[in-house]
């Protein structure tokens, strides 16, 4: 089980903050494609970064069951 976290505008658009994926392993890019198809939202990840287990990751980072993937839209704290 891979846990995917969504925040801010992405969370509102998807209508949920957390998604569970049953695959044993996926690349960050594969998760993006999967969610874009599922939510029919082609620009979903534009400008967005991925974090795996709370560290920034790349599109080709491999995700395994038990990992937590968060998609980080452009930040606006402060």
């Amino acid at each position: 089980m891979i846990k995917v976290l969504l925040f801010a505008g992405m969370q509102e658009r998807a209508g949920k903050s957390e998604i569970q994926l049953d695959e044993p392993h996926l690349l960050v890019s594969e998760i993006k494609r999967k969610l874009e198809n599922e939510y029919d939202f082609p620009q979903m990840f534009t400008g967005c970064l991925a974090a795996v287990n709370e560290e920034f990751a790349e599109d080709d980072t491999e995700i395994r069951s038990g990992d937590v993937v968060a998609f980080i839209p452009p930040v606006s704290g402060g």
Partner: protein
């Protein structure tokens, strides 16, 4: 005592300052970020902040580590509030103590700029007639390097 913290409660500036006060400090510089009413001619009624809390606190600690490298004698504490904040409420407090004043100004400025780059916190502006997540999400702002600048150097 937690030096780097995300909280849902109002922030006491003095409590953040107290975390960095120590006998070798000759200066404490604070930055207090507050909710602004007018932005580009639009009147904000309130802001809503959201964070990926564990990672946000981790990234705040990372800013503290970066400051420790650049200004070894500095001591830094940062508290950022999330949830709904009204006009003039405090969203973030940074306190940096150093032996001499110049370093405290520089390190404090560095901290707020880094918060705006690498800490997963988002704000949504609410107006009388609508709302919008700040950061041009899903529009045209992106990280040119594919990740926040300098982030890769600190891994």
């Amino acid at each position: 005592m937690k030096l780097f913290e995300i909280t849902e409660d109002p922030i006491s500036v003095q409590e953040v300052i107290d975390k960095v006060i120590h006998p070798d400090a000759g200066a404490v510089n604070t930055f207090v970020g507050t909710v602004r009413e007018m932005t580009k001619g639009k009147r904000t009624t309130y802001l809503k902040y959201e964070a990926y809390i564990p990672m946000a606190e981790k990234q705040l600690r990372k800013i503290g580590e970066e400051i420790a490298v650049e200004w070894p004698d500095a001591k830094c504490a940062i508290t950022h509030r999330i949830g709904e904040l009204g006009i003039s409420e405090i969203a973030v407090v940074i306190a940096v103590s150093t032996p001499h004043r110049a370093d405290s100004f520089e390190a404090c400025r560095y901290a707020i700029e880094r918060i705006k780059e690498i800490v997963p916190i988002w704000k949504k502006e609410h107006w009388e007639d609508g709302s919008k997540w700040v950061g041009d999400q899903l529009e045209n702002t992106s990280y040119p390097q594919g990740r926040p600048e300098s982030e890769g150097d600190t891994q």
